[in-house]
């Protein structure tokens, strides 16, 4: 029971970090970013390479920074050009980015599977309820919570956070008030991509890295952000946690439906609340 709840918490935490990147980018650019899974994968690979040559913490930092830089680049080169275009058009562009990244990963790292060990400090187990539980999984919960809190605090309480939220809703009004919207784009997309990358490297120690890993999580991260109400962090947080628990308990109690659980949850939420848990009506 307790262990299961904990399993759900771990899973939910990872989903949250992943989805919050998507939420950031969607919030500002109104882009459903199909390359988000690819960014996650790239984060895992880049972090992996640094982690094997240096150390895991350095790998985490590198994944965050590298992906952040890629996000900035994406915004400057792509999203900004497309910002006046219909969001659907940008979807194809992000799909293009996904293909490029997949090819890049395939060329640099090949098609084989890689795996990475958690750092020694975090690799043991602790006894919880009489059963061993991997320390690394607890670390994920902690790291995600810290990231969630930092992000929420920044957006809610800082001036730049306010500007980001304003620019997300109506860039022309934000600009009219003096916000340099041209700088906000790269900042937000960079941050969003960095979150994708971080979730990739955080997940790496219990996953196999392969060029298909991105597409597996892409849909899940969509689901989380839609259940939460697109563009809403608190919503994404609640829905990630909810999904974690549903997944943990659902696979035990209704194994037949395991693969549909996220979609069932989403359908139920959307039918009763089309704007998602914390989303505002359009």
């Amino acid at each position: 029971m307790l262990i299961n709840a904990l399993n759900g918490l771990v899973y939910g935490s990872l989903l949250f970090v992943l989805a919050s990147g998507l939420v950031l980018i969607y919030g500002l650019r109104r882009v459903v970013n199909f390359s988000h899974g690819a960014l996650y994968m790239l984060g895992a690979y880049a972090g992996y390479s640094v982690a094997v040559s240096f150390s895991f913490p350095l790998g985490v930092v590198a994944a965050g920074l590298a992906l952040g830089a890629i996000g900035v680049l994406l915004d400057v080169v792509l999203f900004r050009q497309l910002s006046t275009r219909h969001p659907l058009v940008t979807v194809i562009a992000t799909f293009g980015v996904l293909l490029v990244i997949e090819d890049l990963v395939r060329s640099v790292w090949g098609t084989q599977n890689y795996a990475i060990d958690p750092p020694a400090l975090l690799s043991g187990v602790v006894e919880i309820g009489g059963a061993p539980f991997p320390v690394y999984r607890l670390f994920i919960v902690g790291a995600s919570a810290a990231m969630a809190a930092a992000l929420a605090a920044w957006l809610r309480y800082s001036r730049s956070g306010l500007f980001v939220r304003a620019a997300s809703q109506d860039p022309s009004v934000a600009a009219m008030c003096g916000v340099r919207t041209a700088l906000i784009g790269p900042m937000v997309v960079g941050l969003g991509a960095a979150f994708a990358g971080l979730s990739g490297i955080l997940a790496a120690p219990f996953l196999s890295l392969n060029p298909a890993m991105g597409s597996e999580v892409l849909v899940l991260s969509f689901v989380v952000s839609v259940i939460g109400g697109l563009g809403s962090f608190s919503g994404a947080f609640i829905s990630a946690m909810l999904l974690g628990q549903v997944q943990a308990f659902g696979t035990v109690h209704t194994p037949e439906l395991a693969s549909l659980l996220p979609f069932l949850l989403m359908s139920v939420v959307l039918i009763f609340r089309p704007q998602g848990i914390a989303g505002q009506k359009a």
Binding site: R159, L162, R165, A166, V173, G178, V179, R180, T181
Partner: protein, 232 residues
Amino acid sequence: MTALLEFDAVNAYYGAAHILHGVSLKVDEGERVAVLGRNGVGKTTIVNTLLALATMRGGAIRMRGAALPRVAGHTAAMHGIAVVPQGRKILPNLSIEENLKLGAALRRPGRWDLDAVYALFPVLRERRHTPGTALSGGQQQMLAVGRALMANPDLLILDEPSEGLAPVIVDELAGVLRDLAGTGVAILLIEQHLRLVRDLSERFYVISKGAVSATGVMKDVDQKTLQASIMR
């Protein structure tokens, strides 16, 4: 004296549609100027050109004598201009207080802050944590005015600020704007509400079909003549 803001033979477009045909107008420091005209003649487009929401091709916009090399969305704000846009443009997912804080994005010093705006429109204080659009139409208009005041501008541009306001609030607004002008803030007022316009402005421009068709000093014309020149 160089003008604070000057439009010099500005031509502006939405896409391929040519809307402003060589509009020239200016606002001096501390001056109160009105822009009048029927629906659809291009009044809002003048503001939109300044905000880079319409495309300028030909002509120049000058701030304090210097031509702006490129107009971007935040240019006006950087030069101390605040705008109360037509249709209010309140951000729905920000609270009322956050909408106001956004107005102060550039942190220009001055006498307008949250407290001053709340004192002016007490209903905003009462509802300060609710989302911006959970307000009635007129309340949103107050918020839009408050947000512009928060910028402590040198020039305040108001695009039909009286729309949706109850008559007594229009009176109050007139009072505020008069006070503001008294402190040296220039005002460019686009308005249909002639009483407010006459009350407030020193000079006027009449726009028709995307060009200035008449201009003059407010106290030299009576209401009838003014109305006739707009309707022409």
